[in-house]
Amino acid sequence: MSSCNCGNSNIKIIYACSGASDVGSLSDLAARKLRDEKIGAMSCLAAVGAGLSGFIESAKAADKCITIDGCPVACAKKNLEKIGVTPKSFIITEMGYEKGKTSINETTVNEAVSIIKNNICG
C-alpha cells in the first residue's frame, strides 16, 4: 500500500509459501515478480500463520487472494483456508517443475509468472 486506497474495489493479495526447497524458492520469486508487475500486492504468509490480526483481516477483506505453493503440500493455500479464505491456488510442481530438480533462474521465474498471469482469472 503506497497511498490511501479507501474505496479501492479490486484488491488482490499474493502469498507465497517461500518454502525451503527449490520450488518453494521459485514460488517466492514468482510472487515478488507479480508484485513488481503490479498484478497484486504481496503480503506475508508467516504473519497469517502467526495469527496477526491485521494480516488476517486484510486477507478476509481482499477481493481475491492468490497463493503460490512450491509443492502439493500447499501450505500457503491451507493457511488461508484455515482463516476462512478460499484463495486462487497455484502449485509450482503442477506447472511441470520437479521438487529438488528445478533450477532457479530468470527463465524459470518468468515461465512460472507467465503461467500464473494466464490463469489468474477464475
Binding site: 503506497s2 479507501c6 474505496g7 503480503s43 506475508c44 491485521g54 488476517i56 483481516e57 477483506a61
Partner: protein, 77 residues
C-alpha cells in the same frame, strides 16, 4: 479503558469510521481513547493492506470497511 485507533490517511471514509467508533463508545459509556494513525509506515506495521481499518486494544478488527456504531459495539465489549 479501550484504546481505539483508526488507520487511514484521512479521507472521508476514515473520518466516517472514526465518527462511528466515537459514537459507539459514547453510547456504551465506556472509557476510551481514540487516535488517528495516518502514517503509512505505521499502518503497514499492523499488516493492514486496505484502509480504513479499526484497531481496538492493538488488535485489528476490520479492514477496508466503514462500520456503523452497532457493528463497532461488539468489538468494544
Amino acid at each position: 479503558m479501550k484504546t481505539i485507533k483508526i488507520l487511514g490517511t484521512g479521507c472521508m471514509k476514515c473520518e466516517k469510521l472514526e465518527q462511528s467508533a466515537r459514537q459507539a463508545a459514547e453510547e456504551m459509556e465506556i472509557e476510551f481513547t481514540i487516535e488517528k494513525v495516518k502514517d503509512l509506515n505505521k499502518i503497514m506495521d499492523y499488516g493492514v493492506m486496505m484502509t480504513p481499518a479499526l484497531v481496538v486494544d492493538e488488535e485489528v478488527k476490520s479492514v477496508g470497511k466503514i462500520l456503523d456504531p452497532d457493528e463497532i459495539k461488539k468489538y468494544l465489549k
